[in-house]
């Protein structure tokens, strides 16, 4: 994996030099790196801002979706009244609402958190509802025959059985979170990697554009693998039985 990347970068570097490709079109990796080092203070400060938005919005989505999913899964009333509204709202392209949030909530952190939240929220809710509902009827029969209290039934049967699907949603959400934050910053912002990306793009500072794209990818990857790491800790019995597995970098 790492070797493949090294080879790729070497080929890239070599090709750019060989064919004399202009730097503002496709800069060589060495140039990207040196430019990045020159401005790393600005870039890292922006990265921090963007990560705050990603992690904050994501955690907010997790905190809201899982209890909501429980309510939807276990209450017919909630399922019939609230779930259709959520599904309907999902159809609205959330990125299209982003400019509206600027009008409502200004330029600060909050509208960005909200957009990350919105994009992560739905996949987590849908997967978790499916998880909480996917109880094996035979397992439930067994559990009922023990006279288990509702709390025990939940923590010892329903929740463990739902966790694999909940984590599927958590991972989809994690993969979306970085994109969501950058889009939010595109729309209106005076800081963050998305803002910086637009600035450098406008000034044709292509090496910096590449540097930020790489950094954003690394942040996205890190968040995804962090969630997968937690998954391994929480449901090792399920992770190890998946037939094909994406191995970490």
């Amino acid at each position: 994996m790492i070797i493949a990347f090294i080879v790729l970068f070497l080929l890239w570097e070599f090709a750019v030099k060989l064919f004399g490709i202009k730097e503002y079109l496709l800069p060589p990796p060495s140039k990207i790196w040196s430019e990045f080092l020159k401005r790393q203070n600005t870039v890292m400060a922006s990265a921090w801002t963007t990560m705050t938005e990603i992690i904050g919005g994501y955690l907010l989505a997790v905190a809201v979706s899982i209890p909501l999913a429980m309510a939807i899964a276990y209450s017919r009333f909630v399922e019939n009244s609230i779930y259709p509204i959520i599904v309907f709202l999902q159809i609205i392209p959330k990125i299209a609402i982003a400019p509206l949030f600027i009008i409502w909530f200004g330029f600060g952190l909050f509208p960005k958190l909200l957009i990350v939240f919105l994009l992560c929220f739905f996949p987590i809710v849908v997967s978790s509802v499916a998880g909480f509902k996917s109880v094996d009827p035979d397992v439930m029969d067994f559990a009922r025959s023990t006279g288990a209290s509702p709390a025990r039934m939940f923590f010892k049967i329903r929740l463990p059985q739902a966790l694999p699907e909940i984590f599927t949603g958590l991972k989809i959400g994690a993969a979306l979170s970085a994109t969501a934050a950058v889009v939010a910053e595109f729309v209106a912002s005076d800081r963050g990697l998305g803002y910086l990306l637009q600035q450098y793009n406008g000034q044709l500072e292509t090496p910096m554009v590449f540097a930020i794209i790489v950094l954003l990818s690394l942040i996205g990857l890190a968040i995804y693998y962090l969630v997968e790491f937690v998954e391994r800790l929480v449901i090792p019995w399920h992770v190890s039985q998946r037939p094909t597995e994406m191995t970490g970098l």
Partner: protein
């Protein structure tokens, strides 16, 4: 302790044998019709049966005649279309909990190892699983799973999973044991050993046992009474009192009278076209 031949727990050398702990079961007028859209399945029709405390009842019948349905109704897991079940003099409404059930499939929890899958019986009942740890280990060893207590269910064969499920149904020493083809996934040798051990256990503890099987000789070998059911809609076709001495060792199993009982059941099935030559 036998290591390779799996066997069911006897008293497991643990608590003193409890005689006469079985409860009576009264089944009256049970019928079950499954309705789905325009489809109607008449699974059971008028089942009446009175099971004495500590009695061992085996049920044989063709596939789909409603045996599993009847077991779920007795356990209170399924509400019958009509009729009532009484256990220990109390009418069953909702899941009855003072029992042990072995379902037709093992129904283990994927996220718990074998030992913890046995102990979940205690855990869900609000008991202290740690207090039953040694007993669970002894029972698992008796069914040949000593080295597997830390394995996860998916690492075990179908027969091993089913043996785990049997131990789970016994760990809390219930006064009523409902078993739905518990030996179905086992090979012939293991099956024979498990049968011998189940009888031994039953002789020691005396729990009322309701045992569903496809095996005619298995039913005769184990039961005080064999209930023969008709094809769907399931009715009780015959009730055979098995008057054979216990424990039913090799000499009993190979006796003339044993074969006669088996023949009687086979003929019953032939009359209904379940077995054709």
């Amino acid at each position: 302790m036998r290591s390779e031949s799996p066997s069911l727990p006897e008293a497991a050398g643990q608590p003193p044998p409890r005689q006469g702990t079985g409860v009576p079961v009264e089944i009256s007028g049970i019928a079950q019709i499954f309705r789905r859209a325009d489809l109607e399945t008449r699974a059971l029709e008028r089942i009446d049966l009175s099971v004495k405390p500590g009695e061992f009842v085996a049920v044989v019948g063709p596939s789909g005649c409603g045996k599993s349905t009847l077991l779920k109704i007795i356990a209170g897991l399924l509400e019958p279309s009509s009729g009532t079940v009484g256990i220990a003099g109390k009418r069953v409404s909702g899941p009855h909990t003072d029992l042990g059930i072995v379902f037709q499939s093992p129904v283990l929890l994927d996220w718990r190892n074998i030992l913890d899958n046995v102990l979940v019986q205690i855990d869900l009942r609000g008991g202290n699983p740690a207090a039953y740890r040694d007993k669970a280990r002894t029972l698992l060893a008796k069914v040949g799973l000593a080295e597997f207590e830390n394995r996860m269910p998916r690492e075990l064969s179908g027969g091993m999973r089913q043996r785990t499920a049997i131990v789970r149904a016994l760990i809390h020493e219930p006064p009523l044991l409902l078993m739905d083809e518990p030996f179905g996934a086992l090979d012939a040798l293991t099956r024979e050993q498990m049968r011998i051990d189940l009888e031994k256990l039953w002789l020691e503890r005396g729990q009322t046992t309701f045992f569903i099987t496809h095996g005619i000789s298995e039913a005769v070998a184990l039961a005080d009474r064999v209930i023969v059911m008709t094809p769907r809609p399931g009715r009780i076709e015959r009730i055979l009192e098995i008057d054979l001495p216990r424990p039913r060792h090799k000499d009993v199993i190979t006796s003339r009278r044993f074969a006669d009982y088996c023949d009687e059941i086979t003929e019953c099935f032939m009359r209904h076209g379940v077995i054709q030559y």
